[in-house]
């Protein structure tokens, strides 16, 4: 039975939701429709984290992905909205190779996963307490934590430098 401490149908509904919205991102012709579909896909992933009894990740997913990243993407769409008329093909020439490749990769990795020895697995998902998590974050993983704040600052400065208007060279 899939899932954890909940009814198995919930897993199938969630998986259906996530996959359909993910397919919508790829298949919608209008970019804005793709973006809305992406937001719903992220929301489904957040519910998946909640179902996996990882509430902290679910909350951060809603905050960062559903909130921030989708806003940035929608802003980018609105800043670059072009009326190029109806482009006949919105897939490029590699589609004929990309589709079988993606399906093949999915099949191979699925077979590998099912036959792999992952280690000792419990029957249900267990959740570490918030206290445990914060102790781990500020003791053992404090260096990656600080490093990531550095990366965020660098990304912020880089984004500003890239997106700023070119100054006239005098």
């Amino acid at each position: 039975m899939p899932g954890g401490d909940f009814h198995p149908w919930i897993f199938f509904i969630l998986a259906f939701w996530i996959l359909v919205c993910g397919l919508g991102v790829v298949a919608f012709k209008k970019v804005m429709y793709s973006a809305v579909s992406m937001v719903f896909c992220f929301l489904g992933v957040a519910f998946a984290y909640a179902a996996l009894s990882a509430p902290l990740v679910a909350v951060v997913q809603v905050l960062v992905y559903v909130g921030a990243i989708s806003i940035v993407v929608i802003f980018a769409i609105m800043l670059t909205e072009v009326q190029e008329g109806a482009r006949d093909q919105f897939f490029n020439r590699q589609t004929i190779f990309a589709a079988p490749l993606a399906i093949a990769v999915a099949a191979v990795v699925s077979v590998v996963i099912v036959s792999a020895d992952i280690g000792r697995i419990g029957d249900t998902a267990r959740t570490p307490s918030l206290h445990q998590l914060s102790a781990l974050l500020f003791n053992r993983y404090v260096f990656p934590f600080e490093l990531i704040s550095l990366v965020l600052v660098a990304a912020m400065i880089g984004a500003i430098v890239l997106a700023r208007k070119e100054e006239e060279k005098s």
Binding site: V64, Y65, V72, Q94, A106, V114, I118, Y141, L162
Partner: protein, 102 residues
């Protein structure tokens, strides 16, 4: 079959949908969105394994949080590049970014 495998299969399918989008779509913004789908798929796998495996509680959760943070940084820089490119070329179609051909 253990419950973990179902979650992993879901992650694989989402990853391949995202990979297909990255390979096949022309619009660069949609490519960035599909990259986000792939990162989400990896995150699902990471959280699932971390929650179901016996031992080392919390590490997987923390790493998924790190990945979410880095994805935010990545999408910011990526879309800034898209906008800077749009300013020069007036297009977001990937096959028209052909400056390097000379």
């Amino acid at each position: 079959m253990n419950a973990l495998y179902w979650w992993l299969l879901l992650a694989v399918m989402l990853f391949c949908i995202g990979a297909f989008g990255v390979l096949a779509r022309r619009n660069v913004i949609v490519v960035v969105m599909c990259l986000e789908l792939m990162l989400n798929a990896v995150n699902i796998a990471l959280v699932a394994i971390a929650q179901f495996r016996v031992g080392a509680p919390g590490a997987g959760t923390l790493f998924s949080l790190f990945i979410i943070t880095l994805a935010a940084a990545e999408v910011t820089v990526g879309l800034a590049i898209v906008i800077a490119n749009y300013r020069n070329k007036r297009t977001v179609q990937a096959d028209q970014y052909d400056q390097l051909k000379g």
